[in-house]
């Protein structure tokens, strides 16, 4: 067997105290389709960023085609023949598909000055046709649905004449027809000796397409196996690393007798989610499962008032909420801990204590001036209760680790004593210890009567903490499972579209979760 095309040796990377990757080594042969599996936070995205050159590893090195890959340079990775297709296709929204594909590699006419738009259009059309796509190439990319944009990104990678194609959850927004077209391409590339690293949660795809699979868990490589030598159950077990139930399961309590704190009736937002109805009782944790793009974050953000809804009602403790009004939602006692804590949650340059009191500033004030004493008392109490590890209350938020930032964000909302807590991926990018602490907090809050909606892609977490699990797919609720009878398989089977299901496939739209 010839030398592997890609050799990853001893890669480690830490982000502010959290070890994202620890001594990871793997290799990919020429013409191989190599799957990368692992739970959220296992380190897959970090590894991909390192290979793609947008992230610098702390230790270790990478060799491509026998040559060392200069780390941390996108151009170097591209020059080495590596092409990365990210989950959220990065494109130029104002340029059309043809231009998106050719920016930086434009085709010119004989003179060298003028663009050969005709040839570019033909080649772009041909590339997209290979992917099974045919649409008006003059449409600006920003107006294209995410699936199309992803195809454009893939077409751009194909143009690059890459030797190693890395795909990060490529099919999460593709229909089955588009997925098959993609697989055809990957196989064609395979015949030409191009290798593919394929990251996916969809295990059937892994088994259909890949030659070998590497499993990452908690930043370490757990195993590399030939796809033929491993079963689905075994793969899951390697990914999860423990039997489900390793997270101390919460006793599932039926909600009778307790008041309904949050009630959603027929909530619809055109093109994003449709006829969503469910309720959450006080002291209950309702988990929300679903794939990327299913619309879970959108529902949560709509409830909180970030976006408006078109039809339906939201009732908090029996009172209706008006759409698109964050302050009204806050007054009613709803709090949202958003998924993107850096962009939407914390003001990083400001101190821990300022961040904690940002939403509750009014109540600390006398005549418009916050009382330093009251702020100090509140902040220290929250920090102690949540176990936020920080040098001082005055330390800036960016100095905290991911896990502590997450706790900080939670603390900000708990300061308001909300009745309904909407959590969107609360343990994403959080280390194991902080994760357990956050789980503990969620349990405690529920025991004290908090109505919680827990959106999570971490199935064991969801199963362990939830009294009930709602599954969303393509903008609709497709099932509800009682906590006691839910299993990972049942949840996944509801969340993943079946092969020839006509009601699914086309993504309704929405955000990343």
């Amino acid at each position: 067997m010839s030398d592997p095309y890609l050799q990853v040796a001893g890669i480690s990377k830490a982000f502010g105290g959290v070890q994202a990757l620890v001594d990871v080594s793997l290799d990919v042969r020429a013409g191989e389709v190599h799957a990368l599996c692992g739970e959220n936070g296992a380190g897959k995205s970090t590894l991909i960023k390192i290979l793609g050159g947008s992230c610098l590893p702390d230790h270790g090195h990478v060799r491509v085609g026998g040559q060392a890959l200069p780390p941390g340079s996108v151009l170097a990775s591209e020059a080495a023949g590596i092409a990365v297709i990210h989950q959220e296709a990065v494109a130029f929204p104002d340029l059309n598909a043809v231009d998106n594909i050719f920016v930086g590699r434009e085709l010119r006419r004989a003179g060298g000055l003028w663009l050969d738009r005709r040839r570019m259009r033909l080649e772009a059309a041909a590339l997209l046709a290979r992917l099974g796509e045919e649409f008006d190439l003059r449409t600006p990319a920003g107006d294209l649905p995410l699936a199309r944009r992803q195809m454009v990104a893939i077409a751009r990678a194909l143009l690059q004449d890459c030797r190693l194609l890395i795909l990060d959850e490529p099919t999460s927004s593709l229909s089955s027809r588009e997925t098959q077209a993609l697989f055809r391409i990957i196989r064609q590339l395979k015949d030409k000796g191009v290798s593919t690293i394929y990251v996916s949660h969809r295990l059937e795809e892994v088994f259909e397409l890949a030659d070998r699979v590497t499993v990452l868990r908690d930043g370490r490589k757990v195993a590399t196996r030939s796809v033929g030598e491993i079963s689905r159950a075994e793969l899951i077990r390697l990914m999860v690393g423990r039997d489900v139930g390793g997270i101390a399961a919460r006793p599932k309590s039926p909600p009778e007798g307790r008041p309904i704190m949050l009630e959603i009736q027929g909530l619809t937002r055109a093109g994003v989610f449709e006829k969503v109805s469910f309720s959450v009782h006080a002291g209950e944790v309702v988990g929300m499962a679903g794939l990327v793009g299913a619309g879970r974050s959108d529902v949560a953000q709509a409830i909180f008032g970030v976006d408006r809804w078109d039809e339906g009602r939201v009732l908090v403790a029996g009172k209706a909420l008006s759409p698109g009004d964050i302050r009204a939602a806050l007054r009613a006692g709803v709090a949202l801990v958003p998924e993107d804590r850096q962009q939407l949650g914390l003001v990083l340059p400001m101190s821990v204590s300022v961040n904690l009191t940002l939403a509750i500033l009014q109540s600390l004030c006398r005549l418009g001036f916050p009382s330093a004493r009251r702020e100090q008392t509140l902040a220290s109490r929250l920090v102690a209760e949540l176990g936020v590890r920080t040098a001082s209350l005055r330390a800036p938020a960016w100095a905290l680790s991911g896990g502590n930032q997450q706790k900080l964000l939670l603390g900000k909302w708990l300061a308001l004593s909300p009745k309904v807590l909407l959590l969107d991926e609360p343990t994403r990018g959080v280390d194991v210890r902080a994760k357990e602490e956050v789980h503990q907090l969620i349990r405690q809050l529920a025991d004290q009567g908090m109505a919680t909606l827990l959106i999570s892609s971490d199935l064991p977490e969801l199963l362990a903490l939830s009294d009930r699990i709602i599954v969303m797919r393509a903008g609709r609720i497709v099932g509800e499972l009682a906590g006691s009878e839910a299993t990972q398989e049942k949840v996944m089977s509801l969340a993943i579209p079946a092969e020839d299901d006509p009601a699914t496939g086309a993504r309704v739209g929405g955000s990343a979760t």
């Binding site: 996108v74 130029f92 920016v103 649409f135 107006d143 093109g271 739209g509």
Partner: protein, 344 residues
């Protein structure tokens, strides 16, 4: 209901309707329509307006704004802004006057022209360098340049006027070739050249890419700095060209030349459909907007408002921009609703 078909094809199962909608959303057509409507309305009310002489005058008046507008369009497409072009024009006017006036340096025409072009390009390059390498917001840098250049102009002129430009230079501003005024010819060449640059060259494509998504542009290996620097330098050069064909028309060169010019040009670029966020818009819109605003000014004069015309002109310019952004906002809101409803 969200149809599978529409979802997959992105709503192009009705291609004609989609194309029509796209057309209606493009500002150029709105401005062009408004331009044509105004022209027709005024000519009907006052037939003398549509005379060849009058229209020719209009074009001559609009020429400098068109020329600089092309450069400024590129700057704004890359996501930056340059409000110093008016002061630069004033400075270049002073340079021209001081260089070739018989009472001053008394240079022949050609060196004067070269000196002007060089000065304009250098100023544009300096501005661009300060913005790209200094990593400072272009609004502030060009605000500073606007003042500094104006101050420099006043220092150079020393409060005096220059009135004796040699005939050779004057023909640049007042002469004609084949019956068409030189300034209009030059403007036409600049417009065609800019349109080709924008739409048919790799450089043009990359400029739009940088404005559309700077991060993605970086990942694609484009040099954001060089592209922006190019846009600023080009603007400086074009300002010099505009100066060469417009200043000689003036009977007097004094330090106030060009005051307010930058506002006019930025207004035209924005009204013409180029988004301040960068990445979209183009030369055609700018040119149409210049003509539209030029007509408005001429209309005011024609309506015998006299002095009032100049006063209200500024108000109207400002009003146009506000109307343009309002229209944008409304269009975006309705298209978002439409997209959500029928697209995916």
């Amino acid at each position: 209901m969200i149809s599978q078909e529409a979802a997959r094809t992105g709503g192009t199962d009705r291609p004609f309707k989609a194309a029509l909608t796209r057309l209606a959303q493009r500002r150029e057509y709105g401005v062009g329509f408004l331009l044509a409507a105004t022209l027709i309305a005024v000519s009907w009310k006052n037939p003398a307006f549509a005379s060849a002489a009058n229209l020719s005058d209009l074009l001559v008046q609009c020429a400098p704004a068109v020329i600089v507008g092309c450069g400024l369009t590129f700057v704004i497409v890359t996501g930056e802004i340059d409000i110093s072009v008016g002061s630069l024009l004033g400075l270049l006017a002073a340079v021209m006057g001081l260089a070739c006036s018989p009472q001053r340096a008394n240079w022949p025409v050609v060196p004067t022209v070269l000196a002007t072009l060089l000065a304009g390009t250098a100023s544009g390059f300096l501005t661009g360098a300060l913005v790209t390498f200094g990593r400072a917001p272009s609004i502030i840098i060009t605000l500073g340049m606007l003042t500094a250049l104006r101050g420099l102009t006043e220092l150079l002129m020393g409060g005096e006027w220059i009135t004796d430009l040699p005939a050779g230079l004057r023909t640049l501003g007042t002469g004609s070739l084949l019956g068409i005024p030189i300034s209009v010819l030059v403007a036409a060449v600049v417009v065609v050249g800019s349109a080709l640059l924008a739409g048919r060259t790799a450089l043009g494509l990359q400029i739009y890419a940088v404005g559309s998504n700077p991060e993605a542009a970086r990942l694609a290996g484009l040099s954001i700095r060089r592209l922006r620097l190019f846009a600023f330098t080009l603007t400086g050069l074009l300002t010099a060209v505009a100066a060469l064909v417009s200043v000689p028309q003036l009977s007097v060169i004094e330090s106030g030349v060009g005051k307010g010019f930058e506002l006019l040009v930025v207004t035209c670029v924005v009204v013409g459909g180029t988004s301040i966020r960068g990445g979209s818009g183009g030369i055609l819109g700018t040119v149409l907007a210049v003509l539209l605003l030029g007509i408005v000014r001429t209309v005011l004069v024609f309506l015998k408002l006299g002095e009032m015309a100049t006063y209200w002109e500024r108000a109207i310019q400002g009003g146009f921009v506000l109307a343009a952004v309002l229209a944008d906002h409304l269009a975006r809101r309705s298209s978002a609703a439409r997209a959500a409803g029928g697209q995916t």
